[in-house]
């Protein structure tokens, strides 16, 4: 059970995400989880062993380390990644529930069901509308909240994002104010800033996705309201079908022209 398992779980959600959601997932895996596993863990690997205090008093080093690093950066990042990935599970569960319902309908022999076999149901990609829209939107909202909370917790716990070289410690049993030196402070500052920057990018992507979903929702609603005020339904359906055909023809013409000119 490691980050690979998370990849398996979230990979399934990817199919039902919007394009921005897919970009978010890629950024999460390549620029956060991979960097954490491959680089950051090594940088923080020797943090306690190489935390050196200018005293021979036993226990002083341990107490000072614990005072300045209540929870290590690496552990906070791991928690952040887990919390931020978890709302996607809501979507995965909702999709699984819908699939289960469709399979039940199919098995009952319901004539409304349009699938030919169970395999098609398993492979089907659900559109983000109806109750799934609400689940998806709330998962994005929770993602944003968790990201912001963790970023604030970081800032609050470590008084900013810089790792100082030297810390002065006078916790008991240190005999007086003792100089303690952190290992690799510059490298740690660089990686902290990198991870914070990528978190901010992820927050922006999530906000953009939320705006996109809300815009689509309101547009769809206004279209429905506009359509219901106009002519009877069956005439409208003919028109929209003709419009779609025209769009398709013009699209395919454009593509063949582009294809030939290059």
């Amino acid at each position: 059970m490691d980050w690979g398992a998370l990849h398996t779980i979230l990979g399934g959600v990817n199919k039902h995400s919007t394009s921005i959601g897919k970009i978010w997932l890629t950024v999460l895996f390549i620029f956060r989880i991979m960097i954490l596993v491959v680089a950051a863990e090594r940088v923080w690997g020797d943090e306690q062993d190489d935390f050196v205090c200018n005293t021979l008093q036993p226990g002083c080093r341990n107490v000072c380390y614990d005072h300045f690093f209540p929870i290590s950066h690496i552990r906070l990042w791991a928690l952040q990644l887990i919390f931020v990935s978890t709302p996607a599970l809501l979507v995965a569960m909702h999709v699984a529930y819908r699939r289960h319902e469709k399979k039940r309908q199919f098995r009952k022999g319901d004539q409304k069901c349009e699938f030919k076999d169970i395999e098609e149901i398993r492979k089907q990609r659900f559109r983000i509308e109806g109750s799934l829209w609400w689940t998806y939107t709330s998962s994005i909202f929770f993602r944003i909240v968790f990201e912001a909370v963790f970023m604030y917790a970081f800032y609050f716990m470590y008084d900013g994002f810089r790792m100082p070289r030297l810390m002065k410690c006078n916790a008991w049993p240190c005999p007086n104010t003792v100089d303690c030196f952190v290992s690799r402070p510059t490298e740690k500052t660089v990686f902290t800033i990198f991870m914070i920057a990528v978190s901010s990018i992820c927050i922006l992507l999530n906000v953009a996705e939320l705006c996109y979903l809300l815009t689509k929702f309101f547009l769809r609603r206004s279209k429905k309201a506009g359509n219901s005020k106009q002519q009877p339904n069956h005439e409208n359906k003919e028109e929209t079908k003709q419009n779609e055909m025209n769009e398709l023809i013009s699209d395919s013409c454009q593509n063949t022209v582009i294809g030939f000119s290059s």
Binding site: M34, V38, V52, C53, R184, E187, L248, S252, G259, S261
Partner: protein, 219 residues
């Protein structure tokens, strides 16, 4: 979840690349990723423990190590590998977008969604330019951070709390230098491959364009 992820990513990218692009993937995989995982990582593993200063003052070693190695070579190498592989994802996304569009309209809109033509050509060229740019950025970063690609045996350090100028010894400097030169050589090779792929594609499509226009004029 580690370098295997990058390996899978690169294999996915391979499908939509030109011949030179596939050579690039092979070079990155065999001469950079594999060398990194199998050899380089172990050389830099205990760099901090084995960095020794001629002094007993607590904290002096930490501070001197941090001064001479703000970001370790091996971390820069890992970041370079990740950043240089990422632009290829643009091509994968574009092909996925094309296939999605075809599915959405339930019609064959492209002769072959994976073929490099039209908008995909521009995406491919942009990814090549980004790859080359990132390679050059990292090489310059290495050069600037470490004053060249040499690793000295001995560095002199006089930062507080070191009481005076202190001799500090780096572990395995020659081996690190050899692998650093290897890294630079493979980066340069990848830059050359990217530039030749760029010129090949531009040349090929300009000739095609010119011939088509010429045929149209004749008609």
């Amino acid at each position: 979840m580690s370098w295997a992820f990058l390996r899978d990513l690169l294999s996915g990218v391979n499908k939509y690349s030109t011949g030179i692009g596939r050579i690039w993937v092979a070079v990155v995989f065999m001469f950079r990723l594999l060398v990194y995982v199998a050899a380089a990582e172990n050389i830099w593993k205990h760099e901090h423990d084995e960095f020794e200063c001629n002094i007993k003052q607590p904290g002096c070693e930490n501070v001197c190590f941090d001064h001479f190695f703000p970001v370790s070579h091996i971390r820069l190498w890992a970041l370079q590998l990740i950043m240089v592989s990422t632009p290829s994802l643009l091509v994968v996304f574009h092909v996925a977008y094309r296939e999605n569009r075809e599915k959405h309209h339930n019609q064959k809109l492209y002769r072959n969604p994976g073929k490099i033509d039209g908008g995909l050509l521009y995406t491919y060229l942009i990814s090549l330019i980004l790859k080359t740019g990132l390679e050059i950025v990292f090489l310059v970063l290495f050069y600037k951070l470490y004053n060249g690609f040499k690793i000295p045996h001995l560095v002199k350090c006089d930062i507080k709390p070191c009481p005076s100028t202190v001799d500090c010894y780096i572990s395995k400097p020659t081996e690190k230098m050899i692998f650093l030169y290897f890294l630079v050589a493979t980066s340069c090779l990848c830059i050359v491959l990217n530039l030749s792929e760029l010129s090949y594609l531009i040349f090929k499509y300009s000739i095609k364009c010119y011939l088509k226009r010429h045929m149209k004029k004749q008609q």
